[in-house]
């Protein structure tokens, strides 16, 4: 019988090795798998390559990993954002490497990894300093850059609901990177805000991420709370 449920976040992140490339869902604080990230700090894996849109806020999410010194390299679109203090500190002291990627190129590189496409051409960033060293080719008279798939060893994502097959649904724009990252990692781990559903409770037209992409699910109950000033 298929049963991808695990009891705790710490069990969910068991086995993530040092040096792993970890895709982390979320945009700003929306959809960030904060409980899994906290568990990963506890679990102890280090030398990580973190692929994520942002770099965490205050001490939360990716910032907790950065604070604990577990990150060797960030691949990110907008690491420097409001409250990304630990990223700024680690970057300033030179203790992390940084690869900045245009947001659409980042999502498409992750999508390519999940879809078996090793490389593709894109119009984004042509003629900018981000194109330096990249292969340029014209199609229909317009120049495009060659970009490569960006797979993960692990993906950490947050979903709304799951079932024992690992099927997932999401809540509004908290979906963001999750479905794409789920498909792009060898080991995909999802935390869910709501209790795990019975098989069949998530309808076939309602499921956004089919369980084929998901390895472990854990109900953490975590969702963003809003105190009127900022998230949580």
């Amino acid at each position: 019988m298929i049963d991808k449920r695990v009891a705790t976040a710490l069990e969910a992140v068991a086995g993530v090795p040092d040096g792993a490339t970890v895709l982390v869902g979320g945009f700003g604080e929306s959809g960030v798998p904060t409980v899994l990230l906290e568990a990963l700090v506890q679990q102890g894996a280090t030398g990580l390559v973190i692929v994520a849109n942002n770099a965490g806020t205050a001490d939360r999410g990716i910032a907790a990993l950065l604070r604990a010194g577990r990150v060797r390299r960030m691949i990110s679109s907008y690491p420097r954002s409001r409250g990304s203090l630990w990223f700024e500190k680690r970057y300033a002291e030179g203790s992390i490497e940084l690869e900045v990627v245009p947001q659409g190129t980042l999502t498409e590189r992750i999508r390519a990894a999940g879809a078996g496409i090793p490389a593709f051409f894109t119009p984004t960033a042509v003629g900018t300093e981000m194109a330096e060293g990249k292969e340029v080719r014209e199609f229909g008279g317009r120049p495009y850059l060659l970009e490569y798939a960006l797979p993960g060893d692990v993906a950490l994502i947050r979903a709304r609901r799951a079932d024992r097959w690992g099927n997932l649904t999401y809540h509004s724009v908290a979906r963001n990177y999750a479905p794409t990252m789920a498909a792009a990692a060898a080991l995909t781990i999802a935390e869910t805000a709501e209790p795990v559903a019975e098989l069949g409770d998530l309808g076939p037209e309602e499921i956004i991420t089919p369980g084929i992409y998901v390895d472990r699910v854990v109900h953490t109950g975590a969702a963003l709370a809003w105190d009127g000033e900022g998230a949580r």
Binding site: S30, L98, V100, V101, P123, V173, R232
Partner: protein, 256 residues
């Protein structure tokens, strides 16, 4: 706003709200529009009554609505600038990857962006300035390269008085040759044929004044002629119920 100390008597620059209203008035009914961070966020509230524009957000949403009423916020429901928003009836959610497939695939009719510099050949610099603590690019390069029409809202000059409309950008580029129109507190200018062509000017702004505050080449006559034909509307009512033409070219003004 462009520093009044630089402006002769008799010049009455538009407020940035008026500038945003110009940009809002030009968004065609039925257009799918991405609103950038900063000054562009003024635009949605300034749309003329009855103008139905569908707002796109890079984090996976079409049909974005205004900020929530107090006490009704969904903390996960944010726009690309991480501000709380709502969703209108007819709106939909999708993945980040799909949101950028829309952008890169030419489905966004208009991208409204801020800028550090715009060059007379339409180059845009709006993502990086010297002294940034660390690089960060976001979705600007995708929007600039992918949207069918790119318009910029900006003060006409920087706070130190330096032109932001220039012959060639000195700051790192976001994309080359993409800007179609610039809305400033002194003028509305189409970027065509290697020139800034004046489509409208604030009260009291003369060719000499504009030339002094602009780094690039200005064509004043072309713009005036067009302006006499009237209005900020830059392309005939596309979108809405009417079908898109087969294989539409980029939505641009007819030549001056």
């Amino acid at each position: 706003m462009t520093g009044p100390e630089l402006l002769p008597d008799g010049v009455a620059p538009w407020t940035m709200t008026e500038v945003a209203a110009h940009a809002a008035a030009d968004l065609p009914d039925g257009a799918h529009v991405n609103i950038g961070i900063g000054l562009p966020t003024l635009v949605p509230a300034l749309l003329p009554p009855g103008r139905e524009v569908v707002l796109h957000s890079e984090n996976g949403m079409l049909g974005m609505g205004p900020p929530p009423a107090p006490g009704t916020a969904d903390p996960e429901l944010i726009d690309a600038g991480k501000n709380l928003v709502t969703l209108l009836p007819g709106g939909s959610y999708f993945s980040h990857a799909e949101a950028f497939a829309m952008i890169r695939g030419g489905h966004i009719d208009v991208s409204v962006m801020g800028a550090f510099q715009v060059s007379q050949n339409g180059d845009l610099a709006n993502w990086s300035i010297p002294g940034d603590k660390a690089p960060a690019v976001g979705g600007a390069m995708d929007l600039a390269a992918g949207a069918r029409r790119v318009v910029v809202i900006t003060r006409h000059t920087a706070s130190n008085g330096a032109p932001k409309l220039v012959a060639a950008c000195s700051l790192p580029l976001t994309a080359r040759g993409v800007v179609d129109r610039v809305y400033t507190d002194l003028a509305t200018l189409d970027v065509r044929g290697g020139q800034f062509r004046v489509a409208a000017a604030a009260p009291g702004v003369t060719p000499a004044i504009l030339a002094k505050l602009t780094g690039g080449e200005i064509d004043w006559q072309c713009g005036l002629r067009r302006r006499r034909r009237g209005s900020h509307h830059y392309f005939p009512a596309a979108g809405g119920a009417g079908p898109r033409p087969v294989r539409p070219g980029p939505a641009r003004l007819p030549g001056c």
